[in-house]
C-alpha cells in the first residue's frame, strides 16, 4: 500500500501529460481526461485519510527509488484529501465555466500541475522536494493568473504575485540549507527527530538553530499567506479566471499554515518565532478586516477578507493552537471556495433583484407601512457583550476543561468573544419581520457554531498531535510570563469595553448631529480606502529601483 502516496502525486502529473497527448485540443475530451484523473486522485487521497483515521496507515517516510521521499502521516493525509477534493471541485466547475475561454487545454494542464505541486508539498519528507514544490506553486500560479494572454493588466498583477512568492521562497531555501548543514541529511523526519533529541545542539551566528529556522519558516509562511506588507498580491489578483481565484483562496494562500504545522517540532523550541507570528497575525487580521470593510470593489473586499482570515490562522499558530490553524484553513478554504464558485450565480441573481432592503423612509412614504422600532442601543450593547462570553465559556468548558489552562486558548476566546458580539450586535441593525425570532435564531446558530468549532478543534488536536506532552509543549512555547499575560488580558478587556462605549456614544451623537469624531473617522476612512498607502509605498520603491537601473544601463550603453 506504500504505492498509494506516490500515486496521489503522480496522477495529476499524468493527467497533465494525458491532457496534452490525448486531448488533441478538443475541449470536452480535455476536461473529461482531467476530471477522471482528479477523481481517481481524490479517491486515493480519501483512502489514505481513512487509513490514517483508522490508524492502519503506516507512519513515516515513503522512499521513492532512493531518490526522494514522501511522508505518510495524519497531517499529510488530511491536507492531501482537502487539496484533492478542492481541486476536483474546481476542475468540475471549470469544465463549463472555462468553455468559452482561450487557452482551455493550457488551463487544465496548469491546474493539474498546480494540484500535483500542492500534493507534493504536503507529502514531502525530503527538504529539497518541499522547496521545489513550494517554488513550483508560485510559478504555476503566475502562469495561471496570466492565463488571459491579451490582458497586460492581469499579467502585471501576476508578476506582483510571483515577486512576493519569491520573497517568501528564499527564506525557506536558507532554512533548508541551514538544516542540511547542521544535520547532514535532507530527510525532514530525520532532521526533526534529531532536533527534538537535542534542540540546543546547533547554533547559527550565535543563535539557537531552531530560533533561526523558525523565523525563516515563519517569513516564508507570511509571504505565502498574505501577511501584512506582503499582502498586496492577494486583493489585486482577481483578474485571473474565477476557478483560479477559488483554488488560490481555498488551497494556495493557506499553505503558510500547513508549513508551520509541518515544522511544528522546530517551533516548540522557537518561542521568538511564535511570538512574531502572533503579532504579525494579529496586525494582519485587524488590517485585513478593516480594509475589507472599506473597499468599494467587491473582489478586493473578498481579497482582504481572505487576508484577515489568514491573519487569524497565523495568529492561531502564534498562540500554539497549531491544529486549530489547520481546521481554520480547511474551513476557510471550503467557505471561500464556495463563495468564488458561487459568484457567477450571485451576479446573475443580483441582476434580477438587487436584494437591497428598502429604507425606512421608502417603507414609510412609498409602501405606507410603519417602520418597526429597533431594539434600544444600550440594552443590545450589554446583551451582546455578555451573551457571547457566556456561550464561549460554557461550550469550551464542556468540550475540554483544560482549555482554560492554556494562555493561547484564552487569547483566542477573546477573539471569539469579539466576533460573537459583533455578530449579535449586527442584528440590531437588521430589519426583519420578527426581530426577536431573528435574534434567537442568530444566538442559537452562534452557540452551535462555537460548540462545533470547539469540538472539531479538539478532534483535530487528537488526530494531528495525539501526544499530549507535545501539545502542552507547543502551548508552553507560545506562552509569555504570567504577569505580562494578565496585563494583556486586562488590556484586551479594557479595549473591548471602551470600544463598545465609544461605539455607543458615537452612534448617539451622530443621531443628534454632534459627532466630534467625524473628522478623525473621515481621515481614517480615507487612509483605509487607500489601503493604508502600502501599495503606494511599494509602487514608489519599485519605480525608484527600476528607474535607477534604467539610468545606470543607459550610462553603460544598454539598449
Amino acid at each position: 500500500m506504500q504505492i498509494v502516496l506516490p500515486l496521489i502525486i503522480a496522477l495529476p502529473v499524468l493527467s497533465a501529460l494525458a491532457t496534452v497527448a490525448l486531448g488533441n485540443g478538443r475541449r470536452l475530451r480535455v476536461s473529461r481526461i482531467s476530471a477522471a484523473f482528479l477523481t481517481l486522485t481524490w479517491l486515493l487521497a480519501s483512502l489514505q485519510l481513512w487509513r490514517a483515521i483508522a490508524g492502519t496507515a503506516p507512519t513515516g517516510p515513503v522512499p521513492l527509488f532512493g531518490w526522494t521521499a514522501f511522508q505518510s502521516d495524519p497531517l499529510g493525509a488530511l491536507m492531501s484529501w482537502v487539496i484533492a477534493g478542492i481541486a476536483l471541485i474546481v476542475h468540475l466547475y471549470s469544465r463549463r465555466y472555462m468553455a468559452e475561454e482561450r487557452g482551455y487545454t493550457r488551463f487544465f494542464v496548469l491546474m493539474n500541475l498546480m494540484t500535483a505541486a500542492l500534493l507534493a508539498m504536503v507529502a514531502a519528507n525530503d527538504l529539497i522536494l518541499l522547496v521545489v514544490a513550494w517554488h513550483l506553486i508560485g510559478v504555476f500560479l503566475y502562469l495561471l493568473l496570466g492565463l488571459d494572454l491579451t490582458s497586460r493588466e492581469a499579467h502585471g498583477y501576476a508578476i506582483w504575485t510571483l515577486v512576493t512568492f519569491r520573497l517568501g521562497d528564499l527564506p525557506m531555501v536558507l532554512a533548508a540549507a541551514l538544516l542540511f548543514n547542521s544535520y547532514g541529511t535532507w530527510s525532514l523526519s530525520d532532521i526533526l527527530a534529531a532536533l527534538t533529541a537535542d534542540p540546543a545542539g546547533a547554533q547559527v551566528l550565535g543563535l539557537p538553530l531552531p530560533t533561526v529556522v523558525g523565523l525563516l519558516i515563519a517569513l516564508s509562511a507570511f509571504a505565502r499567506s498574505a501577511q501584512v506588507v506582503t499582502h498586496l498580491w492577494l486583493p489585486y489578483t482577481m483578474d485571473g479566471p474565477t476557478p483560479v481565484s477559488a483554488l488560490m483562496h481555498a488551497g494556495i494562500v493557506n499553505a503558510g499554515g500547513f508549513l508551520i504545522n509541518r515544522f511544528a517540532p522546530v517551533f516548540v523550541h522557537a518561542e521568538a518565532a511564535l511570538h512574531l507570528m502572533f503579532i504579525v497575525g494579529l496586525v494582519t487580521a485587524v488590517i485585513g478586516s478593516v480594509l475589507m470593510l472599506t473597499q468599494h470593489d467587491i473582489k478586493k473586499s473578498l481579497g482582504y477578507s481572505t487576508m484577515g482570515q489568514m491573519g487569524f490562522m497565523i495568529m492561531e499558530c502564534g498562540v500554539g493552537a497549531f491544529s486549530l490553524a489547520i481546521y481554520h484553513l480547511i474551513a476557510h478554504g471550503v467557505f471561500k471556495g464556495t463563495l468564488f464558485l458561487g459568484a457567477g450565480g450571485v451576479i446573475g441573481a443580483a441582476r434580477r433583484d438587487d436584494g437591497v432592503p428598502a429604507e425606512d423612509l421608502y417603507t414609510f412614504v412609498v409602501e405606507r407601512q410603519i417602520t418597526r422600532p429597533r431594539r434600544p442601543w444600550l440594552a443590545m450593547a450589554t446583551l451582546t457583550v455578555i451573551v457571547p462570553a457566556a456561550i464561549l465559556f460554557v461550550t469550551h468548558y464542556v468540550v475540554e476543561q483544560s482549555y482554560f489552562d492554556k494562555q493561547g486558548a484564552i487569547v483566542l476566546l477573546f477573539f471569539g468573544w469579539m466576533t460573537g458580539a459583533q455578530l449579535i450586535f449586527a442584528t440590531h441593525h437588521m430589519r426583519a419581520e420578527n426581530p426577536v425570532r431573528l435574534f434567537v435564531l442568530i444566538l442559537f446558530s452562534f452557540a452551535v457554531v462555537v460548540l462545533g468549532y470547539a469540538f472539531i478543534a479538539h478532534v483535530f488536536d487528537m488526530f494531528l498531535y495525539p501526544d499530549p506532552a507535545f501539545r502542552a509543549a507547543i502551548y508552553k512555547a507560545a506562552g509569555i510570563k504570567l504577569v505580562y499575560f494578565d496585563f494583556f488580558v486586562v488590556l484586551l478587556t479594557v479595549i473591548f469595553v471602551l470600544g463598545w462605549i465609544f461605539a455607543y456614544y458615537s452612534e448617539r451623537r451622530r443621531l443628534i448631529g454632534r459627532d466630534r469624531t467625524a473628522a478623525l473617522r473621515r481621515l481614517f476612512y480615507r487612509a483605509a480606502a487607500r489601503e493604508l498607502y502600502v501599495g503606494d509605498v511599494m509602487s514608489g520603491a519599485s519605480r525608484v529601483l527600476v528607474g535607477g537601473a534604467r539610468r545606470v544601463n543607459a550610462l553603460l550603453g544598454g539598449r
Binding site: W67, I128, V131, V132, H135, L136, V139, Y142, L143, G146, L149, T150, S151, R152, A154, H155, G156, A158, I159, L162, V163, R166, L167, L170, V173, L174, A176, A177, L178, F180, N181, W186, V204, L205, L545, V546, G547, G548, A549, R550, R551, V552, N553, L556, G558, R559
Partner: protein, 249 residues
C-alpha cells in the same frame, strides 16, 4: 592561491569592472557562438578556483557578490532580451566565487548555471530574426503573434531565472547550502541575486509576451517541428535539472 589563478578567475567569473568588458564581448556575438560563450565562459575560472588549495580572500568574495548584485539589479531596467541575458550571466558567474568545492562539483554548478542561459539566448535569437529585436518597447505581443515562440521564451526566462526544475535552480540551492554555515552576507547576496532575476525576468516577459492580437502582423511563428524540438529541449533541460539534483545535493 596564486595571482594567475585569481586573474583567470576574475576574468572568467567576471568581477566588476572586468565584467563590463565581458558584456561588450557578449554584445558583439550572436547565434550559437554567443550561446556557447554563455554556457562555457565560467568553466575555466570555476575549475581554476576549485583546483588549487585554499579559498579566495574574503574581500574578493565580497567584490564578487557585489558585482553579482549590481548586474542583477541592472537586469530590472533591461528591456531587451539580449541585454537582460548578458546581465543575468554577469550576475550568475561571480556567484561561483563563493566557497570551496571539488572540481567536478564546480564544473557541474557552472554548467548548470550556463546551460539555461545558452538555451535562452537561442530563443532570443529566434525572436530577433523574426521581429528585428526582442525589445519590450516594440510591443511584440508574442503570445498572439507567435505562440510557439512565446511559450519557448517564457520557458527560457523561467529556466534562466533558476526556477525549478531547471539545472540552475539546483545549482543555486547547492551554492546557498555550501555557504549557509558561514557568514550571513554571502547567502543573503545569493538569495538577493536570485530574487532580482525572478523580478527582472517577469518584467521582461510582461514587456514581450502579453497583449491583444493585431491584424497587421502574424505568420511569424516558429514552424511546428522546430517548435516541438525546442519544447523537447526544455523537457531535456528539466531532466538535466533532476540529474543535477542527484549530483550536487
Amino acid at each position: 592561491m596564486t595571482v594567475p589563478v585569481l586573474v583567470l578567475a576574475a576574468v572568467s567569473l567576471t568581477l566588476f569592472p572586468i565584467s563590463l568588458a565581458v558584456a561588450g564581448l557578449l554584445d558583439r556575438l550572436s547565434g550559437p557562438l554567443r550561446a556557447a560563450m554563455l554556457a562555457v565562459w565560467p568553466l575555466p575560472g570555476a575549475l581554476a578556483l576549485a583546483s588549487v588549495d585554499g579559498q579566495p580572500p574574503d574581500w574578493l568574495v565580497a567584490v564578487a557578490m557585489l558585482s553579482a548584485l549590481f548586474h542583477a539589479w541592472r537586469g530590472l531596467g533591461a528591456e531587451d532580451a539580449r541585454d537582460w541575458l548578458s546581465l543575468v550571466a554577469l550576475s550568475a558567474w561571480p556567484l561561483l566565487w563563493a566557497g570551496a568545492r571539488p572540481p567536478g562539483m564546480a564544473v557541474a554548478e557552472a554548467l548548470a548555471l550556463g546551460l539555461p542561459l545558452a538555451a535562452a539566448s537561442l530563443v532570443a535569437d529566434g525572436i530577433e530574426r523574426r521581429f528585428g529585436a526582442a525589445h519590450a518597447r516594440l510591443d511584440l505581443r508574442l503570445a498572439r503573434e507567435a505562440p510557439w515562440l512565446a511559450g519557448l521564451f517564457v520557458s527560457a526566462v523561467l529556466a534562466a531565472t533558476a526556477m525549478p526544475v531547471s539545472p540552475s535552480f539546483f545549482a543555486m540551492l547547492s551554492l546557498v547550502t555550501g555557504q549557509a554555515g558561514g557568514s550571513a552576507l554571502t547567502p543573503l547576496a545569493l538569495l538577493g541575486v536570485w530574487f532580482l532575476w525572478s523580478w527582472s525576468g517577469a518584467r521582461l516577459v510582461h514587456g514581450l509576451v502579453p497583449g491583444a492580437p493585431r491584424r497587421v502582423m502574424g505568420g511569424q511563428d516558429l514552424p511546428s517541428r522546430p517548435a516541438r524540438t525546442g519544447a523537447g529541449a526544455y523537457a531535456a533541460l528539466a531532466g538535466a535539472g533532476l540529474l543535477i539534483w542527484g549530483l550536487l545535493l
